[in-house]
């Protein structure tokens, strides 16, 4: 019985010691002073959306003869381009658009590719039969974001046209990749 009491006392002392040490570890000393806080919050907001045709994807149709140069995306010319990005009027900053592709156009079943350097684009703040264009001056898509517009203000639009070259010797197949558009505040890099 006495043995039990001894164990109880020792265990209680250890518990007390550990509690004291934990609280000592958490002890801090704070100097206090009072001050008036000056505060301002600056909010920025922007919203964009892809036109229905651009949101549906960029389709280059079927190609029967190789090599083929400057194949138009199917929505390049409904007289005007119907591939565009809107900046909402409910934004408080102008927007720059950035573009990139995730990889080469790839036929997943065979593993064959059409190099990304063959997919090109042009952008313009207006659209007609010549703008965006011409295809001869189009920029190459890359896997890193690149600026693909002038600053686009609230309520305004940037139009796109995309073209594809298919070199000779490319095996038949269904080639796909993913193109991403990103909106950034106009002074910010991609």
């Amino acid at each position: 019985m006495e043995r039990y009491n001894t164990i109880l006392i020792i265990a209680s002392l250890i518990l007390l010691f550990s509690l004291v040490m934990i609280s000592v570890n958490n002890l801090t000393g704070y100097a206090t002073e009072s001050s008036a806080i000056s505060n301002v919050t600056i909010s920025k907001y922007l919203s964009i959306d892809l036109s229905g045709n651009l949101s549906d994807g960029i389709n280059f149709g079927s190609v029967n003869t190789l090599p083929a140069a400057d194949i138009n995306a199917s929505d390049n010319y409904a007289y005007n381009s119907t591939m565009f990005i809107n900046v909402s009027t409910d934004s408080n900053t102008a927007v720059d658009f950035c573009i990139k592709a995730n990889t080469h156009l790839t036929d997943t079943s065979s593993g064959s590719i059409i190099g990304l350097g063959n997919e090109t684009y042009q952008n313009s703040s207006a659209t007609n039969v010549t703008h965006p264009g011409p295809s001869s001056a189009a920029a190459l898509l890359t896997t890193a974001y690149a600026k693909a517009s002038l600053p686009t203000g609230q309520g305004n639009v940037t139009y796109y046209r995309l073209w594809l070259d298919v070199p000779s010797g490319i095996p038949s197949g269904n080639y796909n990749n993913s193109v991403s558009f990103k909106g950034v505040e106009t002074t910010t890099s991609c």
Partner: protein, 227 residues
Amino acid sequence: MKYIKKEVIKINRILVLMGIIVILSSNSVSSGVGLKWDAEGKLVEQGEKTCLTYSVYNPWPKESYATIGVSDNLKEILKSQEAEVKLIPPNTMSTNSIPLKFCFTIPYVYESGRDCLIGSIICKQECNDEQKVYSGEVLLSEAKDVSVSGGSGGSSTSVAVSAPLNLRVICTAHSRDYTIVYLALGIIAIIVIIMVLVNKYRKPKVERDKEKLKILKEQIARESRKK
């Protein structure tokens, strides 16, 4: 006859008008994403979970699902990022924006000043390095199926908006932290106390008194023998 012809022309015109409206609406109706932020920098503590809340909105006429994440250069630094996908109803203006939380864990980036006794516990931290700053972007992307529609090949598209984000990691110097050792000691002590008390009071009082009496009798007997 003339009346019927006029009616047919009228119906044709209405059909053409309806067709134009359908085509125009199919071109213009798409979902978009909107991001609102009021901070481009954040002070964070190494080894701790941090959550950021951004406001998302969708002033466009179609609902969208959005998810928040960080740019590739920040992905390399931040551990265990958790982001939720949220439905943003159509015509949600910036004034009614929806908060979207994004959490991540900052790894121990001041490793040179960190010394642990066992694994990653009982550590001390010295702060001799310059403050580390990681710059990147917060990305709000539309969460959608990116498979290309149709079978003739091409590119699927996705849309995102971004806000700059600079993470400044604080280094808090501290001596070796034995809290876990004291905690373990305390827990062991509590277990021992409980076991002793259970053993002591397990038997009914009568039996305990009998045992006490027996011990006393033995003691008296021993004492008598000595005398």
